[in-house]
Amino acid sequence: MIFFDFDYERADTLEDAVAMLARLQGDARALAGGTDLLPSMRMENIKPGLLVSLSAIEPSEPELLADGSIRIDALSRLASLENSAFLRSKVPMLVQSAHVVGGNQIRQMGTLGGNLCQETRCMQQDQKHDYQFVAPCFKRGGECCYPFPRNGRDICWSVYMSDIAPALIALDAQLEILGEAGSRRIRVEELYTGNGLKPLRLGHAELLRAVFIPPAPRGYTWGYHKSTVRGGLEFGMAVIAVALQLAQDGKTCTDARIVIGAVREGPVRAAAAERSLKGAALDEERLAQAAAKASKEITPLPHHGFTKRHLMDNIRVYLRRTLVRALERARNPGALA
């Protein structure tokens, strides 16, 4: 049930949709799966005058490009990603991350682009504002942040919950963004501003068209973990994605990418922990030190009832386990599914 009226148009192509969004100058929203947009419209966090539906646009299948990278249509349903045998063999981390999103129905409806462009969340915005009997918070155009009353002016400490974005950043993926002036390519981590009020670096008339994943380098191994309370149909407590690149000896780390999601306004990389792994011979001791370093350098925002201390402990423990699993996977690729 949505309590306000809006208009609805169906776009035949993505270019059409961009043209419509551009004409409305910010009063329109694109509707793909709707699993994030329609709940926030029900809570009246977003009140657009027009929805531009992308449902008439058929997503193309994931394809292997000539340079070895993989192109995935941003309108692909998450269920089609998790069931794709091609993606499972090429980018298992992406399939794993699509597999843990929401519930089955959410994955049947939601799209890859929508998952990356989801709004940040906090407990204040999970309820309709009319029921709260308080002045609006920063994100609703007000002057206060209720979960963090003393966090300073104009700072919205809401948390970006995508499960797939950390995996894509660990995979060093790129996005093709279609705007009025044509398309541009950026790295996935450049999409996020780190500001809860406006978490995405996207114009009002810009849409994601595709995701490009570069070919896996030699000696590449990965690990992914989403911490949850129930294990299904929920947002992550912390989402961890790691990609390691090992030298020929299978021990020395030549490159490491550690990405933590669902604890800040965007996915964050643990730069100091990555540096401590680069060039080092990996063993459990070293990985545990890196995980401890990562939990200290990322200051998690308390969210949805989890304290900062809890989230730091969560990152320290599960990052260590994820890194150890990644190392095991490199030594014995068949052992872990």
């Binding site: 609805y8 409305l24 709940p39 299904g232």
Partner: protein, 178 residues
């Protein structure tokens, strides 16, 4: 096609009066033509306009799965699907499972295992389970957990529901009542 007006503050806005549209839906094999505003969701049309109240609207924000219906055989949440998006689509609700007075095997199994108490989540559970069994006739316990993870039940503790799905797929769970 796209009306753009200026609002009171002089900013460009879509027209505030949204147009009512005619939408054709095929619900359980029967075509219905309904006039809806864009803000009306699929579950509101199914319950209030078409009058099939088997599908429940519970959280209405995509959290609980009670409103699950099958659109083109895919389980989706009726409360966060706009009715205008479903124009010309095949929709199956819980009323479409039974053949007259004869219940479908999954409904029989739910009855037999006592897989419902208050029954509010049951229509959604049945639709999710139907979609699972059509794609995968012999699911494991793990498959069932994964397929039903989008449906919340506060009464049964889920075990009897999983047993019922196993029983409906003919996998060695003993009928309780018979």
């Amino acid at each position: 096609m796209l009306d753009v007006t200026k609002n009171a503050k002089g900013r460009i806005a879509a027209r505030t009066q949204s147009r009512t549209r005619l939408v054709s839906l095929c619900v359980n094999g029967e075509w219905h033509e309904v006039a809806v505003k864009p803000r009306i969701t699929l579950v509101e049309v199914i319950r209030d306009t078409i009058g099939l109240t088997g599908t429940k609207a519970s959280c209405e924000s995509g959290t609980c799965g009670a409103c699950t219906v099958l659109i083109e055989e895919r389980p989706v949440l009726g409360c966060i699907t706009l009715a205008v998006e479903c124009d010309g689509k095949q929709i199956r609700t819980v009323e479409g499972l039974a053949d007259g007075e004869k219940l479908s095997p999954i409904q029989e199994a739910f009855l037999d295992q006592g897989a419902l108490q208050c029954g509010f989540c049951t229509p959604g559970m049945l639709m999710s389970a139907t979609a699972l069994l059509e794609g995968n006739p012999k699911p494991t316990r793990q498959d069932i957990n994964k397929a039903l993870e989008g449906n919340l039940c506060r009464c049964t503790g889920y075990n009897s529901i999983v047993d019922a799905v196993l029983q409906a797929s003919g996998q060695g769970v003993k009928p309780v009542m018979k």
